[in-house]
Symmetry: C2
Subunit: 273 residues, 2 copies
């Protein structure tokens, strides 16, 4: 397409390609290379038009190969909203009223797996990297859930990757919220009870130094387990689950008017029923 | 400082200001304006030096006023890691080995408050904006926790803001994980039981159309509550809490070797003790 068209003797500048959302917002998604001066002209014209139309938030999603347009957008009043490896999202709130721009993601979600065998032993690993490297500390298998992954799926994947053990998700025993863990952001860590489906340990050499089944009471008595609250709670939860029928939160499917995407609510099903 | 210094007749280019972390990483934090050509020279020299030193990840944090340097960094092989309104974080992984770059935040954390009075009535609001606007639907007060805010603090703040009611946090009754809610990111929503500390409703005019105390059975029988899973579970959880002593997850303080930042683990304290 031509960037400019002449119509009725008046120079018309094309608006930027955009989708109007239900909240008075405008979403610009650019994919084709564009000269920054052309982008500037089209952006100014588009913003005037959208201001006249009473639009509120204007979003510009710039793939990383259009990095040459970032400076222009910022100089026109856009601010960063969020970024992923391959794109940057910018936002400009037009009205004088308070912005209702949705917040950026604030938390990373971690999972830890409690897996027991039929000899009252717990599955533990020694990590090659991370906070505990070099300490030879035994800990439950842990990891970070991937984008779009359920807690219950992420923990199965991590146990399999680190130890080769197949498991089934039972319930969340507890979770911890922890702030300023990375770049000022927070962490939600879910301790999950798993049902063991296989026995043979096969460690992932890259991340894991060793893995073993350890008697639960031996684990609970390790000096660092007694001192590190989260480890201590994990061993206590484990004993409470086995010996006292502790009830955590297990997932139930939920539906919504607003989405056909499947999702789950985690709750104390024993107490609810 | 001079960008270049002459020493022993050899032109020396200053490395970029950087901090070396414990994981073989380099963190560059720039604050002063810099010409992109000067930045390019210093970046190339720094990267050569850090590669020789066996460094792994190189981070560059660019405040938004240094947006003129973003294009140069990307052309030198940096990728976006994350962004907040006032800065952009870029990353470049030097070694051939698999990257251990920490994941970006993937979840937003929402809270909903169950507040009852002594007449078995539940506190409900009608929102002016959001998904339910125009539907005149009654729902529990909800909101998004702020950066660094505990779930238990965020829910107290939201109830106060929306309805003027003072509350105390009791426990998490349930939580829902929901994917692709915004920009491909996920949402964790915590339904929280609160203890009411005051009675007089004073709504926030900007966001809230109306607020009232409604008999629990009347709320449970609303047609949209019966059909919307999360609302249905909320009313069921509420009845189970009042009538059957349902036990959710309540917070306990935890400490760690690795941090003096306070944090909390949420668990079924009744079953644990």
């Amino acid at each position: 397409m031509d960037e400019m068209t002449i119509k009725d003797g008046v120079e018309n500048v094309q608006l930027l390609p955009a989708i109007y959302d239900d909240y008075g917002g405008v979403v610009v998604e650019l994919t084709e290379h564009m000269d920054p001066t052309v982008f500037l002209t089209r952006l100014k014209t588009s913003m005037s038009q959208w201001t006249l139309q009473g639009k509120k938030g204007v979003w510009i999603k710039l793939p990383i190969h259009l990095v040459n347009l970032v400076e222009t957008a910022v100089k026109e009043g856009f601010r960063y909203h969020h970024a992923e490896p391959d794109y940057l999202m910018l936002i400009n709130w037009i009205p004088e009223t308070t912005s209702t721009i949705p917040a950026n993601a604030s938390h990373r979600v971690g999972v830890g797996a409690v897996v027991l065998n039929d000899k009252r032993e717990i599955l533990l690993v020694q990590e090659k990297n991370g906070r505990w490297r070099g300490a030879n500390a035994w800990k439950i298998p842990t990891g970070i859930v991937e984008m779009g992954e359920d807690i219950s799926e992420g923990v199965i994947r991590e146990v399999k990757e680190e130890t080769g053990i197949d498991t089934e998700f039972v319930e969340v025993l507890a979770f911890r919220q922890w702030h300023k863990v990375f770049f000022g952001k927070s962490d939600l860590f879910f301790v999950c009870m798993m049902r063991r489906l296989s026995s043979d340990i096969k460690i992932q050499e890259l991340e894991i130094e060793a893995a073993q089944w350890m008697p639960l009471e031996e684990y609970a008595a390790l000096p660092y387990v007694e001192k590190e609250s989260l480890m201590w709670y994990t061993s206590e939860l484990c004993k409470a689950k086995v010996d006292k029928g502790y009830s955590g939160f297990s997932p139930q499917p939920v539906t919504s008017f607003f989405s056909d995407k499947p999702s789950h609510i985690y709750l104390n099903t024993r107490d609810l029923n």
